[in-house]
């Protein structure tokens, strides 16, 4: 392969193409009816249940029905886009598109998914609290602030993971230098 073909710019665009392709594949998987019904909906109901446990620990007195959390005066239904899955898709596509060993990718995927879900749980709990006690702030907190924060968190996690790949790879060439080729 020529030097130009192997340039950082080309690798960068290659990463982006793999990222977009994986994102489309992941989207098609999670948007399909059977996967949505068998995996996404029960997973979202699990988030609702755990959020209710946390809210009840703070004395909010909520009930869960499927993906819905409800108190006597306020209720939310956790839908796609609010269950952290979209950020996990983004993170997963980026990690799998990035050149690294499969072991590091799997470790990154597991830890990243867990971290994203912990933050998303905090998001659901705080949004419910805002809806209950500061309803005027609910819409902007829900759509703009928390959604952006969770996605930004996912991107930062990926960048942290990606920067560790460079540090952990003992054979990575120093930046801007070509390794001498043996004939």
């Amino acid at each position: 392969m020529s030097d130009a073909a192997d340039s950082p710019r080309r690798r960068s665009v290659g990463f982006l193409l793999r990222f977009v392709a994986l994102l489309v594949v992941f989207y098609l998987i999670v948007a399909s009816g059977p996967v949505n019904d068998a995996v996404i909906v029960p997973f979202t109901a699990g988030i609702a249940s755990v959020s209710a446990v946390v809210l009840n620990a703070f004395g909010e007195g909520v009930e869960v029905r499927g993906t819905e959390i409800r108190s006597s005066s306020f209720g939310v239904n956790i839908e796609n886009g609010c269950n952290g899955v979209e950020t996990a898709l983004l993170f997963g596509a980026a990690v799998l598109a990035f050149p690294a060993s499969w072991k590091r990718r799997l470790l990154g995927l597991g830890a990243g998914f867990l971290a994203i879900q912990v933050l998303n749980l905090f998001r659901v709990v705080t949004l419910f609290w805002i809806g209950l006690h500061r309803p005027a702030l609910f819409n902007s907190s829900h759509t703009v602030i928390w959604q952006s924060v969770v996605v930004l968190f996912g991107v930062l996690l990926f960048l942290l993971w990606a920067s560790r790949q460079r540090r952990l790879s003992p054979e990575a060439a120093p930046a801007g230098r070509e390794r001498p080729r043996r004939s």
Partner: protein, 190 residues
């Protein structure tokens, strides 16, 4: 490489972009609605779609809707709040206010504007194709309905979050270029 300082700059950029977004989103929605209306009208004969920004919604007002009937209102922040993410990502640069970086940020904003216009076109067509009952069935086939609805759904679930990241990766990222080296296998000595 992601450092604490870069993350801190990202947080500051996030807050600044958020303040800017809250200040100018209503004005921006009018421009996006105008662009989406122009594109939608290109494929209509006669051109009947009128899009107008009202509060936090873009109202779809076709000239052939019966007078007095309800007009669909589409929540506008869903389309363009990802500007905040783009601002945060570009702010992570070691010198975010450097001239060339600012130019690249504006270039990315220009592409993101195009994405917002297209997303609104998809949302409007999705409403036409799936939400207007018998009228939708008469004017949109199954393939067309699925195309517009899936396109809009993809934007909602993945596209609107991926777009700022992809634009930043293309236009704004500098430091991570060399970390894309393929992992090399250790060579065994024979």
């Amino acid at each position: 490489m992601l450092t604490k300082r870069a993350a801190l700059r990202g947080v500051v950029g996030f807050l600044l972009a958020l303040a800017f977004w809250f200040g100018f989103s209503r004005t921006y929605e009018r421009v996006v609605a105008g662009g989406a209306q122009a594109i939608t009208n290109l494929f209509e004969s006669p051109d009947v779609t009128r899009l107008r920004s009202e509060g936090t919604h873009v109202v779809v007002d076709r000239r052939d809707f019966p007078p007095g009937s309800a007009r669909p209102g589409l929540p506008a922040p869903d389309i363009h709040f990802n500007f905040v993410l783009l601002g945060a990502l570009f702010a992570m640069d070691p010198r975010p206010l450097r001239g060339a970086h600012v130019v690249r940020f504006f270039a990315a904003c220009g592409v993101l504007f195009g994405i917002h216009v297209l997303a609104l076109v998809f949302q409007v067509q999705s409403v036409y194709a799936t939400n207007l009952g018998a009228w939708s069935e008469a004017h949109y086939g199954k393939i067309a309905s699925n195309f517009w609805a899936a396109g809009w759904h993809f934007y909602l679930i993945a596209g609107r979050f991926a777009a700022p990241f992809a634009l930043w990766w293309l236009f704004g990222r500098r430091e991570e270029e060399d970390s894309l080296e393929k992992p090399k296998r250790r060579r065994r000595k024979s």
